[in-house]
Symmetry: C2
Subunit: 331 residues, 2 copies
Amino acid sequence: MTNSRFDVLCLGNAIVDVIARVDEDFVTGQGLVKGSMNLIDEARAEALYSAMGQAIEISGGSAGNTAAGVASLGGRAAYFGKVKADQLGAIFRHDMRAQGVAFDTPSAEDGPATARSFILVTPDSERTMNTYLGACVNFTTRDVDRKTVEAAEVTYMEGYLWDRPEAKEAFKLAAQIARAAGRKTSITLSDSFCVERHRDSFLELIRNDIDIVFANEAEITALYETRDFGAAVRAISQDCPIAVVTRSEKGCVVVNGEELRESPAFPVNRVADVTGAGDLFASGFLVGYTRGKPLVEAARLGSLAAAEVISHIGARPEINLREHAQAMGLL
Amino acid sequence: MTNSRFDVLCLGNAIVDVIARVDEDFVTGQGLVKGSMNLIDEARAEALYSAMGQAIEISGGSAGNTAAGVASLGGRAAYFGKVKADQLGAIFRHDMRAQGVAFDTPSAEDGPATARSFILVTPDSERTMNTYLGACVNFTTRDVDRKTVEAAEVTYMEGYLWDRPEAKEAFKLAAQIARAAGRKTSITLSDSFCVERHRDSFLELIRNDIDIVFANEAEITALYETRDFGAAVRAISQDCPIAVVTRSEKGCVVVNGEELRESPAFPVNRVADVTGAGDLFASGFLVGYTRGKPLVEAARLGSLAAAEVISHIGARPEINLREHAQAMGLL
């Protein structure tokens, strides 16, 4: 295996988050299930936006957040994702590069606008996401730059890509290239509804092509169609080398073959917005992993990064996570 | 005088703020004076943006912030300002309307993009603004809707408009229409450098066409070319019926002819970003004024609104200011 140029390459839907605080009634009135992620079309996006209060715009996208977190922790990060050549696309690209992430996927010149996720944050700090995929539908195997995949120690992909057939093919191609180059592959299951939509092909992929799986409780139990968390953990331990299952404030379980280890969450004074918790957990874990740290220490780094991102609005780190982790003795 | 349809009509540069936290060295390295407002051209905007870290986008513009604050306090607000028909323009319009502000100035179909202000927030929470006026240069007398001006109790205008000759003409036309309709006019001096650029014509306007002047210490002393705050206050008391001079944490001085009254600032636990403090002070004062409250009580409302906006990033209120003011016994 040649030397790597990147620690982590992330593939995902390139999305600008449009975040507004709303009350519970607004979520109910819009017919939404609080805490869910919904895919919406352009007409629905316009109707929802018209009904929403004033918002802030901030770059997001699950794997985009993870890439930003890797870079903030001092890791070498790259990103593949599709924006349009429009103002929101320019913002997304700027923010990625400003964080130190290599992001060279060409912008789409035609077709739908850069993707937006309308994120409604209720007073309990829970988030309900409504994603218009826009230009993401143009992400295809042509956007998988072979040299970059071969040069990354870990290729990490969000399950959300599975929602578009072209993106799914790109995802699979990246995994194959990574494996052939002797690199590691990783996936986040993204969302329990996403798991419901793609259970069989997720399982096939995990069993054959993935080294590290990230999931939360709802996603892992959805994957194995069980209400028994322990049973789901045992099942994933049979299906892939490493799995990390996050449990919000209860911390996480690191599954490494026969070995199960628990790792606590970092305390947070005030949770402002849970968006990005899982994404930033993956950032921390993967930075620890690529530095050869014991997996429970990698999980601690994940918890640290997750704790920072939920302490404020928006799913990208607001501070230099590397300095923060060093101050906490974790890097 | 017929019944009013609006309490406050605000005229200003329609700007989307692009806000990033930076260290002191970045401000110095970019050749900027901390705390200043700089007008920049498109090339400089691109260079600065490339050099900046990841940012958040949020609707801004001085008088736009004031209009949003008026609406948040339960006042009837309208706004005149020019965006382009682009994504940032759509965001600006959405945020204005979502806050309940009537905003019907047509978007420019051609010409420069919607204006942006690159706001650099240093660790001391001070902000250094770099504004690319973009589409604002297309704001002209044609955008002054006579019926709306005649229907507003107070027409409030930002001094920044003076930086463009067409906008200055629009500003003057609005003041004339308001006065002819028996309404009140108000101006904020905006920025001490803005005052330096336009001192003579500001003084002429204030002496002839303005009922209520908002300024801070630096602006009022710049206007009268003195270092003596008391002398500047005495001078403004001769030049217009009402002046409110804000002094950050020292509160403000309300000048009403011969009468001078001081009003304290509201305490703030943690100042996060001073952007918008003066804009939101004007919101509160004008809502109190149009409800016929004593001027010192109107100033307390201003202080309350300013305290909220500096407690977080961004220059628009994050909470319902009306409920907040009611809870504090001010409305």
